[in-house]
C-alpha cells in the first residue's frame, strides 16, 4: 500500500490565464481575472480525489499583482485550510521568483497563511509569517525530504520545534502519512509533477 494517499495535480497558471482572459500575455492582473483563475483551479481540484497535492505553476506568469495574488494564492489556500472544505488539499507554488515574491508574501502575511514555494529552480522556501520553531521544523523536514516518526525526537531536540512540526502538518505545509506516520516534505512529493 502506498504511503501517499494524495492525488497529484499539475496546474499551469500561465495557460489558465490565457484561456481565462483570451490574452496573448500571461499577466495575472485584476481581481476579476484572479477569481476566474482560482475558479478554474477549483474546477480541476473538484475532479480529483478527496486528498490532493497540487503544483501551482506560476513560471509562465509575467506580471502578478496583489489582487491576483490574493485570489490565486491566499484565497485558494484559505478555501482548503483544514476544516474549511470537503477536501484535504496541499499546495506547492512553483515559479515564485523575484517578480512575484513580494506580492505573494504580502498576501500570505495579511491573511496569516503559510505556503511552500519554489523560489528558484530546486530551491523551496516556506513563505508567510512563521515562528523560529516552525522555521526550524520545516527546514529539518525539507532538508531530509522524509522524517520517520521515530526520528523526530532526535532531529528536533526542543519541544517547541516538535510542537511546531505538528502545527505545520495542520497548516498543510508538511504532509504526515496517515498510514506510516512519516513526515514528507511537499517539495519531494511534487517531484513527479515537475
Amino acid at each position: 500500500m502506498t504511503d501517499l494517499p494524495l492525488d497529484p495535480i499539475a496546474i499551469d497558471v500561465g495557460s489558465l490565464v490565457q484561456r481565462t482572459v483570451a490574452s496573448l500575455y500571461s499577466h495575472l492582473v485584476t481581481r476579476q481575472t484572479g477569481r476566474a483563475v482560482r475558479m478554474a483551479i477549483e474546477s480541476q481540484l473538484s475532479e480529483a480525489g478527496r486528498s490532493t497535492l497540487s503544483l501551482v505553476d506560476l513560471s509562465e506568469v509575467t506580471i502578478l499583482d496583489f489582487s491576483c495574488a490574493d485570489e490565486v494564492v491566499a484565497k485558494l489556500i484559505q478555501a482548503h485550510a483544514p476544516g474549511q472544505g470537503a477536501r484535504d488539499a496541499f499546495f506547492v507554488f512553483r515559479g515564485v521568483t523575484e517578480p512575484h515574491r513580494d506580492q505573494i508574501e504580502v498576501v500570505l502575511e495579511r491573511h496569516g497563511l503559510l505556503a511552500v514555494a519554489e523560489t528558484e529552480p530546486g530551491r523551496f522556501e516556506l513563505l508567510g509569517i512563521r515562528s523560529d520553531a516552525e522555521a526550524r521544523a520545516w527546514s529539518t523536514v525539507e532538508e531530509r525530504g522524509l522524517v520517520g516518526h521515530e526520528e523526530v525526537d532526535t532531529l528536533l531536540e526542543d519541544g517547541e520545534a516538535r510542537q511546531a512540526l505538528e502545527t505545520l502538518v495542520g497548516r498543510h505545509v508538511i504532509f504526515r502519512s496517515p498510514i506510516s506516520g512519516r513526515y514528507h516534505a511537499l517539495s519531494r512529493l511534487v517531484d513527479r509533477l515537475m
Binding site: 482572459v21 490574452s23 500575455y25 499577466h27 492582473v29 485584476t30 481581481r31 476579476q32 481575472t33 509575467t62 506580471i63 502578478l64 499583482d65 496583489f66 489582487s67 490574493d70 485570489e71 491566499a74 484565497k75 523575484e98 517578480p99 513580494d102 506580492q103 504580502v106 498576501v107 495579511r110 491573511h111
Partner: protein, 295 residues
Amino acid sequence: MRVIAVPGSLDHQSVDGFLDASLVGGEGKVLMDARHLRWVDPNGMVALLAAGSVIRDRGGVLPRLELPESTDVQGYLGRMGFFDAAQGIYDIEGPPARRGGSTSDVLLEITPIQANVDVHSVVDRVQARAGAILASKLGYPASAVVQFSVILSEVCQNIIEHAEAPGWVAAQAYNWARRLGRNVVVISVMDLGRGFRGSLGDEHSGRYADRWSDATALEAAFLHGLTRFPDSGRGQGIQQIRRQVRRWDGAITIRSGTARIGQVPEWDDTPPMVDGLAPFPGAQISMILPAREEA
C-alpha cells in the same frame, strides 16, 4: 458664455486650482480657453478631460475647447492621445490630425479605464515600453517594470472597484532639470465616480460620526487601508502602492472631493493634507517617480 482660463502650466501643482475653477458658475455654454497653455503633464491632460466631462454632464452640452496656440503643445497632446480621448467630451473645432510622428517617447498615452480588460491593456502596453524608459530615464533596474506594472494595475482597479464610473490613466517621463535636477515619471489616474467618502461611507462613516468628511475618508483608506469590503484581503492596493512609491523615493497624492492627501518625500514640499477644495467628483491620483540619485 462662461470662460474658464486654463493656466499656462497645467500640471500636478496647478491641477487642483484648475479643477476648482471648472466648478464655478452655473449651467450654460462653456469655453475652455487653453490658448495660453505652454506646459501640460499627464495630470493636466487628464484633468482637462475630467473637468470637461463634469461640465458636459451638468450642462448637457459639450464645452468648447480652444486649443493651445503652441503647436508643440498641440502636437504633444496629440501624441498622448488627448484628442482621441476628448471626443464626446469637448467640442473642438478642427482638432489637429494626429501627426504621423512616433509615439515611442510616450510612456502611456491617455487610456480610458472602464473595465478589467482596460487594465490588461494598460499592463500590456507598459510592458512593451516601460522597461527601457525606467532604465534609461530613471536608472531603475530592469525588474522595476514589474513593480511599475503592478502599481498601474492596482491603481486602475481602484477606479473599477471603488469609483463605479469610468476614468483615465496616463504616464510620461520628463527631465525636471530645474525643479529637481533629475528625470521623473509622472503618472496620473482620475475618475469621476463617487470618491473615497462615497465608497467608504456605508461601512465606516458611523465610527467617525460628525468628523466624517472627504479628508477623514482619505485618511481611512490611504493611511489605514480601510475599504468597503469586509474581506481582509481587500484594501491593500493603495497600501502597497504607497510602499513601492516610498521605495523609489517618489510622491503620491490623492484628491477626493474637497481634500487631497499625500505621501511626499523630502524633495517635495507638497503638504501631506490639503482641505477646503471645491467638491470635485471622483478621485484624482498623482504619482511622481524620480530617477535614482546616482543615475
